[in-house]
Amino acid sequence: MTAAMATAPERAATGPRVVLSARGLRRDFAGFVAVNNVDLDIAHGTIHALIGPNGAGKTTVFNLLTKFLAPTSGTITLLGKDITRTPPAKVARLGVVRSFQISAIFPHLSVLDNVRVALQRPGGLGVQFWRSVSALDALTPRAMELLEQVGLADARNRPAGDLSYGRKRVLEIATTLALDPKVLLLDEPMAGMGHEDVGTVSAIIRAAASDRAVLMVEHNLDVVADLCDWITVLQRGEILAAGDYATVSSDERVKVAYLGTDNG
C-alpha cells in the first residue's frame, strides 16, 4: 500500500497517469508459488505488455488483477482505491475488464446480442424480467457503432459461434469495449490468428488505448515491439525485467529466458 502511494505520484509527475496498480502480488497453489512479488503500474493511454515463457504466470497475474483469483498477499489499487478484496463482477463494474485466452463469447447468441449483453447492465436493463427483449433495441445503435469499429457489422445477425476464430476474438474485444473500461486486459488477443487479422486487431487495440489503459499478454514479439509502450517480462512468477522494447530486448537475462524455452 505504502509503495503504491509512493510510486503513483512519482509517475504522475514524470509520465502518464497510473490507473491500475499492483504491489507485492503473490499467489500460491498448494505450495507452488505461481506469482511472486509482482509490482505493476498500468497507465492511462498506454499499452503495457506482459510477456514471458509458458508457465511464467502471465494468466495468473490476469486472474489476480481481475479478482478471478484471490491474491495470497499483496495489494491491488484502482485509481488509488484498494480493490484487493473486491469480488470479480464488482471489479468489472469499476472498470477493469478482461478478455480470456480462449475466446469468450456467447456462441448461441447473435453477434449483435453479444455486444448488447455487455451494454445492458448500466441503467438496470439486466434485471428487467417483465419487459420484452425489444426493450434492448434502444441499445442497438451503440452496439452497431462498436461492431462497425471492429468490422463486424455485416455479421450482426449470425450466431457468434459461427464466426471464424479471428473474428470471435474481435467480437470479444468489441464486447469488452462496450463497457468502456478504464483498464482493458487482453489475454493473448492475437493467439492463433492469421497475419491479416493481427493487423486488424492491432489497429483496434491501438485505437482503444488512446483513451484507456491496456495490459496485454502476448507471445508475438513483433506485435509487442510494434504496439506496446511498456513491457514487463515475467519468469517463474517473478518480474525478470521491465522497460520499453529496446531496454527489454537488449537485456541478457531476457534473451536467455526466451532462447531457453520459447523463441516467441
Binding site: 478471478f68 463482477a89 480470456f100 447468441l109 447492465r121 420484452s132
Partner: protein
C-alpha cells in the same frame, strides 16, 4: 411460440405463423373438454406448467435442480391448508402456495447456487429430502393421509369451481398466465443475461454481472411458478399428499422436460402430456409405470437428447437469417 429454442434470433417478435399456431392451440384447449375427460386434461395442464417452470431453470439458466418437488408439493400443502382449514377462497390459497414456494425457493437457492453441476443437484436433492421429512412430521400435512377433501370453493366469490367446466377454464387461464410468465422472463432483458450465464459464466462475470444474484432470482421465479402448478393441482384434485414432495416427483419433472425438449418453450408441455398420458394408460394395464418411464428416459438420453420438440426444431430449416 414455437421457435424459442435457444433462440438465435432476437426473440420476442413472433411471426404471423407463430401467432396463428398459438391461437389454434388456445382454441384446441378451449374445445378439448368436450372431447376428452376434463380431469385428465387438468392433470396434464398442471404438470405441463410445472415442467415449464422447471425448464426456466434447466433450459434457460443451465441449472439442474433435483428438488423441485419441494415447491410443487409444498405449494399444494399451503394452498390446501389455507382453503380447507382457514376457509380462504381458492385464488387466495393459490397465491399463498406461490408465495410459500418462492420462500422455499429462496432458501434452497441460497444454499445451492454456491455450487455447480452435480453438487448443485445434490444440495437441492438433500434440501428437498429434508422438506419431505418435514412434511411427514408436521401436523398440518396429516402425514401419510395428506390433506383430503379440500373444497374447490368459489372463484372470486361467485364462480363455483365445483362445476367441472368452470374449474377447467380456470385451470386453462392459470396455465396460460404461467406459461406466459415463463415466456416473458425468458424473452426479457433479464432472460438475456440468464442465457449469457448459461453459455459462458466466466464471461458474464467479466462483463460485471453478479452471476449468483441472477441465478438466485431465476431459481426463485422457477420455484414460484412450480408452486403455482402445485397449488392449482391441489384445488383441482382437492387433496395434497406426500406424493408431490417425494424425490420421484422431482425426477418426473426432469423426465418430462428432457423428453419434450430442454430449452424449448413447448417441449415441457409435450413431455408432460406424454408422461401423464402414459401413466394413465399404464395405470389400468398392470405394466409397471416406473419401468416404462425408465425405458423412455434411457431412450431419450441415448437417441434423442434434444427431446422431441428439440429434435423437430433442429431438423427445421435454419431460420436465423430472419429478423
Amino acid at each position: 411460440m414455437t421457435d424459442l429454442t435457444l433462440s438465435r434470433e432476437s426473440a420476442g417478435a413472433a411471426g404471423p405463423l407463430q401467432w396463428a399456431l398459438l391461437a389454434l392451440a388456445i382454441a384446441a384447449l378451449l374445445a378439448a373438454p368436450f372431447v376428452v375427460y376434463p380431469i385428465f386434461l387438468m392433470k396434464i395442464l398442471c404438470f405441463a406448467l410445472f415442467a415449464c417452470a422447471f425448464n426456466l431453470l434447466l433450459g434457460y439458466t443451465g441449472l439442474l435442480s433435483f428438488g423441485h418437488a419441494t415447491f410443487f408439493g409444498g405449494a399444494a400443502y399451503f394452498a390446501a391448508h389455507a382453503v380447507k382449514v382457514w376457509h380462504w377462497p381458492p385464488e387466495a390459497g393459490i397465491l399463498l402456495g406461490v408465495a410459500g414456494a418462492a420462500v422455499l425457493g429462496l432458501v434452497m437457492g441460497f444454499f445451492a447456487i454456491r455450487r455447480q453441476g452435480i453438487y448443485f443437484a445434490m444440495i437441492t436433492l438433500a434440501l428437498a429430502q429434508m422438506f419431505y421429512f418435514f412434511c411427514v412430521q408436521a401436523p398440518f400435512t396429516h402425514g401419510e393421509d395428506g390433506i383430503q377433501g379440500v373444497p374447490r370453493g368459489e372463484l372470486l366469490g361467485f364462480i363455483s369451481l365445483h362445476e367441472p367446466l368452470n374449474m377447467y377454464y380456470f385451470v386453462v387461464a392459470v396455465f396460460l398466465i404461467g406459461v406466459f410468465a415463463v415466456w416473458r422472463i425468458v424473452n426479457s432483458p433479464f432472460g438475456m443475461i440468464l442465457r449469457s450465464i448459461r453459455e459462458n459464466e466466466g464471461r458474464a462475470v467479466s462483463l460485471g454481472y453478479s452471476v449468483a444474484n441472477y441465478k438466485l432470482a431465476a431459481f426463485v421465479m422457477s420455484a414460484a411458478l412450480a408452486g403455482l402448478a402445485g397449488a392449482l393441482k391441489a384445488i383441482v384434485f382437492q387433496f395434497a399428499t406426500l406424493t408431490d414432495v417425494t424425490w420421484q416427483m422431482s425426477g418426473e419433472v426432469i423426465l418430462m422436460t428432457l423428453l419434450g425438449g430442454i430449452g424449448t418453450m413447448i417441449g415441457p408441455i409435450v413431455g408432460a402430456t406424454l408422461v401423464v398420458a402414459l401413466q394413465n394408460t399404464l395405470a389400468t394395464s398392470g405394466f409397471p409405470v416406473t419401468i416404462a418411464t425408465g425405458l423412455i428416459f434411457m431412450a431419450c438420453v441415448l437417441v434423442f437428447r434434444r427431446g422431441i420438440v428439440g429434435e423437430i426444431l433442429a431438423r427445421l430449416p435454419e431460420r436465423h437469417s430472419k429478423q
